[in-house]
């Protein structure tokens, strides 16, 4: 399987609802996953992202809805006939089998000839950089190695769809960062349609072609990482992804007023009554020479300065009393020598392209 690209299948979820008593775990969810795409379901715990994955795998039976892998309707197909690969949060490796036994398991079920099994198991282990580990027992492996075995077992039978349920959540940060890149490469190499569940927004941004942000059993937004971060569809998405502060703004004719003065912006604001200005800390710049031409400028007083090694975080109260603004500055150049002090009067600037107006509703 090493260099073959698997024919991927698109996934089509239509109007899927799942209720547990009065709770909507999934509320009329529709989602199209493109063939070969790496799509992440991102949301807080209890949002319904795992339920949706379990519906895809066949472990949760929804109340209603349609699920298609390619042209095949599979909503009533039991899990063992769906032919999708899956990795579990707990890895779910069989403790009574060796590494090779685990990876060979799906092949044995598919009655693959013995010699071919040996070959494909070794190839799959090679793919996850565990060549030669076949004879090990599961309890002899580290967390990262178990993760790789789980991946090898999920891809060895060349499924055209791969589901991953928070596969990296049990690993420490360094290993997680490394595995993110590895899984990403693996996906590029094998090309199977992948649905990945995580609650870690950075992980989602790192790995995904597209991200579906899920909350209260609904998909709040489905977009590329960049669009999601730069143009969140509503306040929940803006809040959940990255840090941000929100300020209410008002319309006056064609102008958008913040603190009584019109804002400069690039992208036209959404058509909503509840318009808000979203400010990402890393997009705000400190203007020591006073207001800059062609940007939105705010005067503020520093209330808190936090040194964080690679950057610093500055909290400042707007002079108008409209609230707190947060700025993240890089630790380089002049900042290395002197950071602003608490109580300093400052000018903060926000370029028009960084001035993002969003729908402030929280739904």
């Amino acid at each position: 399987m090493s260099n073959r690209t698997i024919d991927a299948l698109p996934i089509s979820v239509r109007n899927v609802t799942k209720t547990y008593g009065p709770v909507h775990a999934l509320n009329d969810v529709s989602l199209e996953v493109r063939s070969g795409e790496f799509l992440t379901l991102l949301g807080p715990s209890g949002s319904g992202k795992t339920t949706l994955l379990m519906v895809l795998a066949g472990f949760t039976r929804p109340d209603c809805g349609s699920l298609k892998f390619g042209d095949r309707e599979v909503i009533r197909t039991p899990p063992h006939l769906r032919d999708v690969g899956m990795t579990f949060q707990s890895y779910a490796l069989f403790p009574h089998m060796t590494v090779a036994g685990n990876v060979a398991y799906p092949l044995k079920l598919r009655k693959v000839p013995k010699a071919e099994i040996t070959e494909r198991v070794e190839a799959a282990l090679e793919t996850v950089q565990l060549g030669g580990f076949g004879d090990r027992r599961i309890d002899q492996l580290s967390g990262g190695q178990r993760q790789r075995v789980a991946v090898a077992r999920a891809i060895v039978f060349e499924p055209r769809i791969l589901l991953m349920d928070e596969p990296l959540s049990a690993l420490d940060k360094k290993l997680r960062d490394q595995m993110q890149i590895e899984l990403r490469h693996l996906h590029e190499k094998l090309g199977m349609t992948t649905v990945y569940v995580t609650h870690d927004q950075r992980e989602a941004l790192t790995m995904s072609d597209r991200i579906a942000v899920v909350n209260h059993g609904r998909i709040m937004q489905l977009a590329t990482p960049r669009d999601l971060y730069d143009r969140p569809a509503n306040r929940f998405v803006a809040d959940f992804i990255g840090e941000s502060t929100f300020f209410p703004v008002s319309r006056s004719g064609s102008d958008i007023l913040f603190d009584g003065s019109p804002l400069l912006y690039d992208v036209p604001p959404p058509d909503t009554k509840n318009l808000m200005l979203m400010v990402r800390p890393e997009r705000v710049i400190l203007s020591p020479e006073g207001p800059r031409e062609g940007t939105n400028n705010f005067t503020a007083r520093a209330t808190d300065v936090v040194y964080q090694g690679d950057s610093f975080l500055l909290h400042a109260a707007l002079a108008s009393g409209a609230g707190q603004i947060v700025l993240r500055g890089a630790m380089r150049g002049a900042n290395v020598m002197t950071l602003p002090n608490v109580g300093d009067a400052l000018t903060l600037s926000l370029a028009p392209e960084d001035t993002v107006l969003i729908d402030g509703s929280d739904k």
Partner: protein, 294 residues
């Protein structure tokens, strides 16, 4: 450079005191075991080698080898133990499987029901079976009124009655360790098996069952060993037709007042049990080596 070693003596003393305390806590139990177990068993061994004339002799063991009745008694003992263990597995394993799949609260309730017989005297339970199973007992009366059979059938004072009583009494000893093993299995494993293409039956036999083997093994062993030395139930429900080693021991003492013969039987039973445990422990270790243990 010389390392600075401060408080060394004091810390060593603390360590020593701590060990002494642990030993002190354990000593009453160790003393008790010495008095009520080691000493009597030693005495048992000693008496078994004393002949009728009061000198050292192997006649108590020779008799066991010579007389056919002894061979039959040992055969019956192992037969009853095997059958009871087998029936306990057949009944207990599916029940444990069923209970392990229930929500916690209901499962606990079921376990209490399983354990309920433990809180009733063994004698009471055995005589209750006698009442139920006798010729004009509840089972025969009901079965006949339902038309299942016409004549009262003999289900007590024989092997059948003994097995019914024994299985009832031994069942909890099997169910508890098996249930424990089942609960310890990560349910994601079954999902994984299913996802990888295993039908529910395949997933059960290739993943679930192998993982419950250590529990099943421990439970079966416990039942088997308890059966080997069982007395009350076969004595009451066997009706003199099912003679096990324990009953022969009693008759040797009560009828023939031959302590030597009784002791020799006891020793053989003990040695057989230890041998089984020893063999079994090798198997259990093997289980752990193949990753089946928890």
């Amino acid at each position: 450079m010389q390392a600075v070693r401060i408080n060394e003596a004091g810390l060593a003393r603390d360590e020593w005191f701590e060990r002494l305390k642990l030993f002190g806590l354990g000593s009453p139990a160790m003393l008790l075991i010495l008095i009520i177990l080691v000493v009597p068993v030693g005495w048992l061994f000693y008496v078994s080698f004393i002949g009728a004339d009061g000198t050292f002799s192997l006649e108590n063991y020779e008799r066991m080898l010579k007389r056919k009745s002894y061979a039959r008694i040992f055969q019956t003992t192992f037969e009853v133990s095997f059958l009871t263990t087998g029936l306990c597995i057949l009944i207990g394993y599916p029940l444990a499987y069923f209970i392990s799949g229930l929500p916690n609260r209901i499962a606990n309730l079921c376990l209490i029901t399983v354990l309920l017989p433990f809180w009733t005297s063994l004698l009471v339970r055995t005589y209750a079976w006698l009442v139920l199973l006798q010729k004009r007992g509840l089972v025969n009366e009901w079965a006949m009124s339902l038309g299942l059979w016409d004549e009262p059938i003999k289900i007590v004072h024989n092997m059948t009655g003994t097995l019914i009583g024994m299985v009832h009494i031994m069942l909890p000893f099997l169910i508890l360790p098996v249930y424990g093993a089942m609960r310890a299995i990560d349910r994601d494993l079954m999902k994984a098996a299913s996802n990888l293409g295993a039908s529910p039956r395949r997933a059960f036999w290739t993943v679930f069952f192998p993982l419950t083997l250590p529990g099943l093994f421990a439970g079966s062993l416990m039942v088997f060993i308890l059966c080997l030395g069982f007395f009350v139930t076969p004595a009451v429900l066997g009706g003199g037709k099912v003679i096990m080693v324990s009953m022969k021991i009693v008759s040797n003492i009560e009828l023939f007042v031959n302590w030597g013969a009784a002791s020799a039987l006891g020793v053989v039973l003990l040695v057989a049990t230890v041998a089984i445990l020893w063999v079994a422990s090798r198997f259990l270790n093997l289980e752990r080596m193949t990753g089946g243990g928890h």
